[in-house]
Amino acid sequence: MSQSHAPVVITATSALTPFGCGGEDFWLGITQATHSPSEKEVPALDVKALLGPRGLRHWDRTALLLGCAARLAMNEGDWEQAGYQPDEAGVVFGSTHGSIEAIVSFDKEAVAEGPRYVNPQAFANTVINAPAGRLAMHFDLPGLNTTVSSGLSSVLDAIGYAEGMIRRGRIQAVLCGGALGWSPAIAWGYERNQRLAVNGQPSPPFDAAGEGGSLREGAGVLLLECPERAAARNRQPLAKITGSGACFEPDVSSPSFSGPESAIRFALKQAGREADELAAVVSCARGLALTDEVEFKALANLVPETVPITAPAGACGDSLETVGALAMITAVEMLTHGQIPKIAGGRPRPGLNLVLEQTQSFAPGPVLVSSWDPEGHGAAVILEPG
């Protein structure tokens, strides 16, 4: 177990959204969309082409999306050429709902038909870590398999955890990300609680009166590697992770309540950066005032007003915790393209430099990715050019 002193690198990414499959469709979507797509599901997903024709019968939709995104990331990262031994590579999945539709259908079948008539094969999908386990089986990744949950901050916390496990030498490479298959149960549960748009009219990120975004499928996977291993095969990193932080705010009514501020401060400190060195911010804001206003306040307190801020959920919809994976991939794409996409449908607000009109150029530098969950979980990651 040897510790690495250089930052962990990201060598490939893959996004599945209603815009399509893969990085190009995603980047085109978030740079050109004026609102979230009307499609709820990821279109034209050729599961058999990506995962093979066998062994998928018992995979639920969330696991399939995660698996397909992982396969695309592995293809982009020349996985087969990397030469990792099985116990050197693993999976870290950020998820709070797991395969919720599998859980719901298993239990509803028991209610309707009686407990002796449920399909025992379906039971395996009722544990929250089931999608990550499917991935490990399919790609033979026994080195590490962890699912972490902190609500809407789950994927950023997963990135922080995976980065730490690589940095401490416990693992060499991790497929890390999130996925959410279309879920009527989630739509029903959160629309009734005004956490998703109920009128078919999603609010844009950072709308002061935001009533929620539109629930959409999504999956995002990033290939994180030990920098020495990536360099050994001449793999040019897309970005490096220089800092991550997490915090919890127990009392939202407290005068000292500061949302994700301490997570951001910790991430900046770990990266050895000051807030005024940030080149941009990618927020997980989703059009829900309950979450966005907290993040807005924290960013307004910490980040100079000159720093451009974007939020991809305005374009790709609200895939709950998976927005964190898509925000990370947005940041990586920004560093690659030297551009920052606008917030689709966004409206100006004093206090932050929200990118609203069109995709802007920016000089690649440290990018903060931040998120906030209404239970009180804040998370932040600092990415820098590879």
Binding site: F106, P142, T147, D251, H377
Partner: protein, 399 residues
């Protein structure tokens, strides 16, 4: 920061054997049987009817009326903090817990209300109580803790995963104190699933016995206060044990069946010993995953033999699931308390209901009677659906 030592300074068990350190440990040493006929829900449509429920426990009143997992977790945290005897709980303390189903009884309740009364009659505030991260949020909110806060839902190995994460947080300097453990209430989904897999014993669990017929589903919560050694030393805290290493792995083989050659389990144990800088000759006790299923107990025995080699027959191995059932995400958390107390008292818990030796399970399982035995180092094994494997190493402090 990575050289910081991590010690156990508080224990909070809420279990079918009782709540609180002394009640729990006395029951373990007595070999108490925590099984009962299921009280939580009607089992008349099932072929099995036994489980291990937490008895005589008054759920704490929590704002917002959260689910049963959060109530179990808060009570375990309260007991652990009381035991740790802080003059003032550090506000920057972290919380990390594991679970298998989390607040799945919330969903079960919704589904039955939907079926009986219609969707519109379900109170709208029910669904947001379901996501599992609400459990650690409730714990942190109850005690005003602002440190890192995370759920690790890696099913029945989750408590050990939480210990591992807590150790990393402390060693990296993210916080000095972490409440780490696991919680799971008895759930209909879990009972139904295991019964359909024919993995529930009709009477009692018999880990490692030739006639073992499966698990008994259980419920509970367990919390360890893990603390940086210098912090514990400074405040004069009682130290039960030191957490000296951990190993994680995945079978990458089957969603529910263990690897036929125990590859992942072996890897986790080997990594844990290496992380602790120990060898099999240093190990004095293994708290087994020991579920009482045919496959698990046979393959865990093979893994222990493979890793421990010529030390395998010397080291006592026991399964407290024989007494408290399989408490899912709480299991390895409660077993972490068992390891800490075993080190503290030089007593090894028994495997009860052990009657008939199995040629495939041929180690010293401490049958039916607790045993006095020096315990300097204890391994805590835990495995899970999804193929997750874990092993945590506790050691006497000072060694």
């Amino acid at each position: 920061m990575s050289d910081r030592r991590v010690v156990v300074t508080g224990l909070g068990p809420v279990s079918p054997l009782g709540c609180g350190k002394e009640t729990f440990w006395n029951a373990i040493l007595e070999g108490k049987d925590g099984s009962c006929n299921v009280q939580r829900f009607d089992t008349s449509q099932y072929k099995v009817h036994r489980a291990c429920e937490v008895q005589g426990y008054v759920a704490p009143k929590l704002p917002g009326d959260p689910g049963p997992a959060a109530a179990l977790a808060v009570e375990a945290a309260r007991l652990a903090l009381e035991d740790a005897n802080f003059a003032e709980i550090p506000q920057q303390s972290g919380v990390v817990m594991g679970t298998t189903g989390g607040e799945i009884p919330i969903l079960e309740h919704i589904h039955r209300q939907q079926a009986e009364q219609g969707e519109d009659q379900v109170p709208r505030r029910q669904f947001p109580k379901y996501p599992c991260h609400t459990i650690t949020a409730q714990v942190a909110r109850y005690f005003g803790l602002k440190g890192p806060n995370l759920m690790v839902p890696t099913a029945c190995a989750a408590g050990n995963y939480a210990f591992a994460m807590a150790k990393d947080w402390i060693q990296e300097g993210r916080c000095d104190v972490v409440l780490a453990g696991g919680a799971d209430p008895l759930s209909i989904v879990s009972f139904t699933g295991f019964s359909r897999l024919f993995a529930i014993s009709p009477d009692v669990p018999r880990p490692f016995d030739k006639n073992r017929k499966g698990i008994l589903p259980g419920e509970g919560a367990g919390i360890l206060v893990l603390e940086a050694y210098e912090s514990a030393q400074k405040r004069g805290a009682h130290i039960y044990a030191e957490m000296v290493g951990y190993g994680l792995s995945c079978d990458a083989y089957h969603p529910t069946m263990p690897h036929p050659e125990s590859m992942g389990v072996r890897l986790a144990m080997e990594r844990a010993l290496a992380d602790a800088g120990l060898t099999p000759a240093d190990v004095d006790y293994i708290s087994a995953h020991g579920t009482g299923t045919q496959a698990n107990d046979k393959l865990e025995t093979a893994a222990i033999r493979a890793v421990m080699q010529d030390q395998a027959e010397r080291v006592p191995v026991s399964s407290v699931k024989s007494m408290m059932g399989h408490t899912m995400g709480a299991a390895s958390a409660l077993e972490g308390i068992v390891c800490s107390m075993a080190i503290q008292s030089d007593m090894i818990p028994p495997t009860i209901h052990y009657e008939t030796p199995d040629p495939d399970c041929d180690l010293d399982y401490v049958p039916n009677q607790a045993r006095q035995h020096p315990v300097g180092v204890a391994l805590n094994n835990a495995y899970a659906f999804g193929g997750n494997n874990s092993c945590v190493v506790f050691a006497r402090h000072p060694r």
